[in-house]
């Protein structure tokens, strides 16, 4: 390997890098929507169990606050502790491999370390009870079709400030920085 070889390919690499950056940013600018930018720029997540919302919410008709226990009473809604799943899954309910894994986790009392997808930065104040109970906004308006999905989203999603502001302007709610920032 010659010492000057890397510098020969340098302009090409820079060119490729710039092209990639340009594509990424323009794609980002056009594809910005609920979800926090283009999917490939968002961090990937792996949940401890491939949870199936549709099965529990539609087939079993469970209310959201069975698992997201504080959604109507606190600012945060919470992700379910293993004890909540254990209420039904201490005994196998079906035959799926994923459920077998869950039953094993329940027996071993392994905590379920769910990754939160919609997490806001620490400088933002947001309250679920305010939006869900007081303003009566359906979950799907902010969270999209997650309750109708059969497996967890693969990437972090986020509401952006413009999503919050668009609705606040529409509903004549405060858009003062002090309402949301802290």
């Amino acid at each position: 390997m010659g010492a000057d070889e890397p510098s020969k390919s340098f302009p090409l690499k820079v060119g490729v890098a710039f092209a990639a950056f340009f594509l990424a940013t323009t794609a980002g600018m056009t594809a910005l929507s609920l979800g926090g930018g283009p999917a490939f720029l968002r961090p990937a997540v792996r949940q401890p169990i491939a949870f199936n919302h549709l099965k529990h919410v539609k087939d079993l008709d469970l209310a959201c606050n069975t698992c997201h226990v504080t959604v109507e009473t606190e600012t945060f809604s919470g992700l379910p502790a293993v004890e909540i799943c254990a209420g039904c899954h201490a005994e196998p309910q079906g035959t799926s491999a994923e459920e077998k894994r869950l039953v094993k986790m329940i027996q071993d009392q392994t905590p379920l370390a769910w990754v939160s997808l919609f997490r806001q930065p620490p400088h933002v104040f947001y309250s679920h009870r305010r939006h869900v109970v007081v303003a009566k906004i359906p979950c799907a308006e902010c969270h999209g079709g997650i309750a109708d999905s059969t497996s967890p989203p693969l990437r972090v999603r986020k509401l952006e400030m413009k999503d919050c502001l668009a609705c606040h302007e529409r509903k004549k709610v405060s858009t003062d920085c002090t309402a949301c920032h802290r």
Partner: protein, 233 residues
């Protein structure tokens, strides 16, 4: 809509500094060392500032006054901010959005009360203090300006609680940490647009005055004193 204001009774104040400590803990203000203090880079959202007055009987001629942000109705700081990181909201609070601030420090210069502070370095807490930080107040990074917010995160919580209980906000639901902590009850806080509030009653007292009133900043912090301090900071 409310207009938040504060009254500080200097005749009650014993200069114990409980408010200063309460403020620092409440708002995740990192402690400064002697070197920073000497360089004028110590951060404190609420300080006790010595003001020279006249001697009257046994009364000392030096008065220590608690000095938070005045939350002026005509804040000089917001006029000079080139990026609108500091604004006055509909309830009269002068806000600072740290993620918007570019650290130009025009506002620290413009503020006649010298209550705005620039973060010259990353905040650091001695162990295990960083584990006790409040999640309700964001930790400011190096390179941005910060100041007293009248603990507006407490207003966010108070409104959220009142709405969830289906009732309007009532007097005392929202108090900044300094007002809550004052053992002499020298710091009173409330709605200046509510004629029944204690702040309105007290600010009509003949003892009432404001700091540097002649500048036309219209502070929403009123001081009470029998002495003649004239507001020379």
């Amino acid at each position: 809509m409310a207009r938040w204001g504060m009254v500080i009774d200097l005749d009650r104040c014993t200069a114990c500094q409980a408010c200063v400590v309460a403020c620092q803990v409440e708002n995740n203000v990192a402690p400064s060392n002697a070197g920073q203090a000497e360089a004028g880079r110590a951060i404190s959202w609420l300080r006790l500032v010595p003001i020279q007055g006249e001697r009257r009987g046994t009364r000392p001629d030096l008065q220590l006054i608690p000095l938070p942000c005045m939350h002026c109705s005509h804040p000089p700081c917001i006029k000079v901010c080139p990026v609108q990181a500091t604004k006055i909201d509909h309830e009269g609070l002068v806000s600072q959005v740290y993620s918007r601030c570019i650290g130009c420090r025009y506002c620290t210069t413009a503020c006649p009360y010298t209550v705005r502070h620039f973060n010259w370095k990353k905040p650091e807490w001695p162990a295990p203090m960083e584990e006790t930080l409040s999640p309700d107040v964001s930790v400011r990074p190096r390179g941005v300006v910060e100041k007293c917010s009248f603990c507006h995160h407490r207003l966010q919580r108070a409104k959220d609680k009142a709405q969830a209980e289906g009732r309007p906000l009532k007097e005392g639901d929202y108090l900044p940490a300094c007002a809550e902590s004052c053992p002499a009850e020298a710091i009173v806080f409330g709605d200046l647009d509510d004629p029944r509030s204690a702040v309105v009653r007290l600010s009509q007292s003949p003892r009432a005055f404001k700091l540097l009133e002649e500048l036309g900043t219209e502070p929403k912090v009123t001081y009470l004193s029998k002495g003649e301090w004239g507001g020379q900071v």
